[in-house]
């Protein structure tokens, strides 16, 4: 079982993000990113489960010159598994999907997800045509992911296995128009509101 701690993983992967934009899936990835790396260039999902990767694709298509990182959970990714096929068919070079995989539905009572039963998300992404797709279990593998996350040609996929631990809620803003306007103004400037 992985000993990686999810919030430390999130902090490490985002500490040198530069101008990259971030989309987080509902639940712990949103709490983690807000807790350790809040930024106007973060868009926090609080619902629409299964949509995070596709929000990332739409953003990557619209902003081809920017690195787009999606940080989501295994349950959220499993609900939108078909989006890995859609992204694989599109092959956006600037999109990276990172699944923080604790093999649990953390919001609903820690029920095991499919990844606890042997489903390997990175293998699905690889089969869908991602340029790279790895499962990360160790600190050394995490260091390698940190280096490739903003540099390697996409689409890039990584499932980072993390230790099961109680959900630590860190309440990110959840007002949708605020989150959307905050993000767009940071990315697009004052023209975002025209």
């Amino acid at each position: 079982m992985s000993q990686l701690e999810r919030r430390a993983v999130t902090a490490q992967l985002l500490r040198n993000r530069g101008e990259a934009v971030l989309v987080t899936g509902l639940g712990s990835p949103t709490y983690d990113a807000f807790a350790v790396a809040d930024s106007p260039l973060n868009f926090y999902l609080w619902g629409a489960m299964g949509s995070a990767a596709m929000v990332g694709l739409g953003l990557a298509n619209a902003q081809a010159g920017r690195r787009v990182v999606v940080l989501t959970g295994d349950g959220e990714m499993l609900m939108g598994l078909g989006s890995l096929a859609t992204i694989g068919a599109q092959r956006p070079r600037n999109l990276a999907i990172v699944v923080v995989d604790n093999e649990l539905y953390g919001e609903t009572g820690m029920q095991p997800t499919h990844t606890a039963h042997g489903v390997e998300l990175a293998a699905v992404a690889r089969a869908c045509g991602f340029a790279s797709a790895e499962t990360v279990r160790t600190g050394a593998e995490l260091d390698a992911l940190e280096r490739s996350l903003y540099a390697a040609p996409g689409p890039l996929f990584a499932a980072v296995k993390v230790a099961p631990e109680p959900t630590r809620i860190e309440l990110a803003p959840r007002d949708g128009p605020y989150l959307c306007s905050r993000f767009r103004e940071a990315l697009l400037g004052p023209g975002a509101h025209l």
Binding site: V21, V23, F43, L45, W46, G47, A48, M49, G50, S51, A52, A53, M54, V55, G56, L57, G58, L59, A60, N61, A62, Q63, R66, G80, G82, S83, A85, T86, A89, Q90, G176, P177, L179, C180, F183, R184, L187, L188, G191, A192
Partner: protein, 176 residues
């Protein structure tokens, strides 16, 4: 007046209207009624066409497009509307523009009874999620309705579905 079957002119005018509205991403699960529009979009290197595995992917995609300062359109048939329900929470809560073009099945001379349930439930399903529903049942009204829907979506920041009636497209022929 000729009665020969010819390709309708409206998909080409509809394509021009979408370009004029600033659409750059065209996402779809195919329908025969959208065939010409999809062909035109795929032939334009200036557009990103995104074939989806299920219609709800398009809701997230177009929300992402808006976050990135872009515009898009989502094409589907009515059977795909139900797939979108929970994903619509995203544009609904964030007041993100959404333009959906839905070709209708299950309503006008439908042969396949399995299309009727979702087809008949389509307007109520969309409205239950806060989507503004516009209808075009005559071919000559389709383009102006889409133009109006695009304005409502992109200028007023609303979710809009234009239902293109089976009457305008013609019922799918199963029997020879």
């Amino acid at each position: 007046m000729s009665t020969a079957v010819t390709a309708p002119a409206w998909p080409d005018a509809l394509y021009d209207a979408l370009l004029a509205a600033g659409v750059k991403q065209v996402a779809y699960v195919p329908d025969a009624g959208h065939r010409r529009l999809i062909e035109l979009a795929r032939a334009n290197a200036g557009l990103t066409t995104v074939v989806l595995t299920t219609e709800e992917e398009g809701i997230g995609l177009l929300a992402g497009a808006h976050l990135g300062g872009g515009r898009g359109v989502l094409l589907m048939q009515s059977s795909g509307v139900g797939n979108c329900i929970n994903a619509l929470a995203l544009p609904a809560e964030c007041r993100i523009p959404l333009l959906m073009l839905v070709t209708m099945r299950g309503e006008w001379g439908e042969f396949n009874p399995w299309q009727v349930a979702m087809g008949q439930a389509t307007p109520a399903t969309l409205e239950a999620m806060g989507v503004i529903v516009l209808r075009a049942d005559d071919a000559e009204r389709i383009v102006e309705t889409v133009r109006a829907g695009a304005g409502l979506a992109f200028d007023s920041g609303r979710m809009v579905a234009v239902l293109i009636g089976q009457r305008a497209i013609g019922a799918k022929a199963f029997r020879k």
